[in-house]
């Protein structure tokens, strides 16, 4: 408890069980009365604890904490751990373990946690004795939050939880084999600046690294000085406000038309804190071959991993961006910027307008998201599940404030949305949290409605129900001869479910009621479920089919 306190932990998402009972017993005193220093949020499933910790971390910028028991308790967290690893989210999972004397005996609820979690975590460690606790917890938080953040797993043997020792605080802020912040190479900075200064058609790709490095202002100064248009990855959406004139939209498979096409035309591509995911690049063999590539990343292993770089600047972008900006000449690329406009216009007429202002037919996801974005406060946080709801939500939501998006980008974890939204409400109690989910993902962590009920967590849940696993259905229609194999879903009566949990609920079927329904949702205190009857077979557009050249983006099917 004191080790967690020393790390500044305020909120713990957890679920008790046999092997973690000593910790829970201590927690009893630390969550009430005079000793109170933590809030413990009892989730309904351990996966929910990790996603909630992720949502908390993404919004607050602090380390999210999940506390669970051994065996099934902790295997349930592994999806969240893998998710946090791919999306560079700092969380620490503390799990009980059988006493060290029982290790390897197939004891009740024993699992080789370090063995199974090593490949999907940043660090994984077994605490075998009480005297390790202070060091291991401090090291865990240090590793989770520094450098490229990520998940750390602590496997806490029960004997170590019980042993009594004199408390000796320990602060880890150095690990000799681990270099979280590589030293900025000024020669690389100079080369990068020179390439940008000679560029006629520069394009920046902004990723979550900017959010993680808290380099929002540094980014804006960099872009504005050299007049560089910037696309954002899905995880980097709130790294640059939607309204910034140099913002040219979202990158990738279902991103915006202009930046994706312009990646194939620019002469210098500047990737900032992003990892060239296949969902961003499409076919790597043809990706941005005409351009000189500058890659700014804190993680050296990302350099040349997917895209060969001409200049790599390995450092925190909070440091590298100002260093490069310093050497930049003021530039004006108006003609280049203007060349984005016809493409944006084309997308607007062909895709965006029909999606957000349809004249007839059933409700569409795009218009629901757009309408929520119109009414939500500027500092609202978008949380999505995975699938069509995620793609429509990320496309049509508006981002004005940093750290405004929680979505499962790398792992694509259905069921992420609801628990992550719970975490977000604890990280920022004064911000509105809008969580878009499909009927598939809503049911994947539906048990967390219990947590929302108990905590009165003010999650505004927008359930976009199309009775399909919509994204897979879309792919089946496009690439699998319309054979809709197990994507149609029978749904429960969500009104009754909401009633069971005592959560205010509204069903929306008519377009004319959309604005009023959203107003009601946003003005109701606490949680709310707005179930929208969505057109069954709508498709997310534009789309670059998987593995295709990124500029072969389809505006219609």
């Amino acid at each position: 408890m004191r080790a967690l306190q020393a790390e500044g932990v305020k909120t713990i998402f957890g679920y008790p069980g046999g092997s973690i009972m000593p910790v829970y017993d201590a927690l009893f005193d630390y969550t009430r009365g005079q000793k109170k220093c933590f809030d413990h949020i009892l989730v309904r499933h351990e996966q929910g604890a990790t996603h909630a910790a992720e949502g908390y971390a993404r919004v607050s910028g602090e380390v999210g904490v999940a506390l669970v028991t051994s065996g099934p308790g902790v295997t349930n967290t592994l999806t969240g751990v893998a998710d946090a690893m791919l999306d560079s989210t700092p969380i620490v999972v503390i799990a009980g373990q059988v006493p060290i004397g029982a290790l390897g005996t197939d004891a009740f609820q024993e699992v080789d946690l370090v063995g199974v979690s090593q490949p999907i975590s940043k660090w994984s460690y077994q605490i075998r004795h009480a005297e390790d606790v202070a060091w291991a917890v401090s090291r865990a938080f240090y590793i989770a939050r520094t450098g490229r953040p990520g998940p750390v797993v602590l496997d806490f043997a029960k004997n170590a939880q019980i042993e009594e020792i004199d408390w000796e605080p320990c602060k880890v802020d150095f690990v000799r084999s681990y270099v979280p912040y590589p030293k900025l190479d000024m020669e690389a900075v100079r080369q990068a600046a020179e390439l940008i200064n000679h560029a006629k058609k520069p394009l920046a790709l902004v990723g979550q690294g900017v959010e993680l490095g808290n380099a929002h202002q540094e980014l804006v100064r960099f872009l504005e000085k050299a007049d560089i248009p910037a696309g954002r990855t899905m995880l980097g959406l709130s790294a640059l406000p939607s309204t910034h004139p140099l913002n040219v939209g979202m990158l990738g498979m279902h991103g915006n038309y202009a930046p994706n096409l312009k990646e194939q035309e620019c002469d210098v591509l500047i990737a900032i804190g992003m990892r060239f995911s296949d969902r961003v690049t499409g076919n790597l063999k043809t990706y941005a071959k005409q351009a000189k590539i500058i890659h700014l990343d804190i993680d050296r292993s990302e350099i040349d991993k997917c895209v060969k770089t001409d200049v790599a600047v390995v450092a925190d972008c909070k440091e590298s961006l100002p260093a490069i900006t310093e050497l930049l000449q003021k530039a004006d690329h108006q003609a280049w910027r203007d060349s984005f406009k016809p493409l944006m216009e084309k997308e607007r007429t062909k895709v965006i307008e029909p999606a957000i202002h349809p004249k007839e037919g059933p409700l569409l996801m795009g218009e629901v998201v757009h309408a929520v974005a119109e009414q939500a406060p500027d500092n609202a946080i978008l949380v999505t599940d995975v699938g069509q709801n995620q793609l429509f939500a990320t496309r049509y939501f508006k981002y004005h404030h940093k750290r405004s998006i929680c979505t499962s980008g790398g792992l694509g974890t259905m069921g992420y949305g609801m628990p992550a939204a719970i975490g977000a409400t604890f990280a920022a109690p004064d911000r509105t949290v809008c969580c878009f989910m499909g009927d598939g993902g809503f049911q994947m962590c539906i048990e967390e409605l219990g947590t929302i009920m108990e905590q009165k967590a003010p999650v505004k849940m927008i359930l976009m129900n199309n009775h399909y696993l919509g994204n897979v259905r879309q792919w089946q229609d496009m690439f699998w001869l319309r054979r809709k194999s197990f994507t149609k879903m029978m749904n429960p009566d969500y009104a009754m479910i909401a009633k069971g949990y005592g959560i205010p609920y509204l069903a929306l079927t008519e377009r004319k009621d959309l604005a009023a329904a959203i107003r009601q949702m946003l003005t109701t205190d606490g949680p709310f479920i707005l179930e929208c009857a969505i057109m069954e077979e709508d498709n997310v557009l534009p789309m670059t089919p998987p593995g295709m050249d990124i500029d072969k983006m389809m505006l219609e099917i």
Partner: protein
């Protein structure tokens, strides 16, 4: 990956001496389905630091990525890849031969001498021959002895290697790190 682009690379990995590192190192290979050809782990000249000498068939592009992913592990100090010309390389071979056959056929002893291998134990039942060298030599001796039908057991060690460069990168790196506190 085209097979003909592959070369045998040697990775020298230095890590802290903590449990579970080998698992993490080999997992990087497993994830890419790259076979480890040989592996040697021992304490290094630096106190508390272990050295792994790993060989694998790969192309340069892939071995760079493997080295970076290994070095990314928190308790790994350094991971560098080398081609054979950048290293002094040795392996050992042990050959257990049937003594009666060795005595019967003088050609066997001559072969052992020709390969500059040494006989390290003899008893009426078996004779132990040891050889240090590069992979090809050790295998060649086995093949030569095997033609006499006298080999009872044969084993070859993993590769050990030191770099030809003057620098001891790892100790310098650690010194710099300690100074940076």
């Amino acid at each position: 990956m085209e097979e003909n682009k592959k070369k045998l690379y040697t990775l020298l990995v230095y890590s802290e001496n903590v449990a579970g590192i080998l698992n993490q190192v080999t997992a990087v290979f497993t994830r890419r389905q790259v076979n480890i050809e040989s592996l040697n782990v021992s304490a290094s000249s630096i106190p508390g630091v272990h050295k792994y000498t790993i060989t694998a068939w790969s192309d340069e592009d892939q071995i760079i990525k493997i080295a970076h992913q290994i070095e990314k592990k928190i308790d790994v100090v350094k991971a560098n890849y080398f081609t054979d010309d950048q290293l002094f390389i040795r392996e050992s071979g042990l050959y257990k031969l049937a003594t009666p056959m060795v005595l019967e056929n003088p050609e066997i002893s001559r072969t052992v001498r020709r390969f500059q291998a040494s006989i390290i134990e003899v008893n009426p039942t078996y004779t132990i021959v040891m050889m240090h060298g590069v992979t090809e030599d050790i295998i060649s001796l086995f093949r030569a002895l095997d033609t006499f039908g006298c080999v009872l057991q044969y084993t070859r060690s993993g590769r050990i290697a030191v770099t030809r460069g003057m620098q001891e990168q790892v100790s310098e790196f650690l010194e710099q790190r300690e100074q940076s506190i």
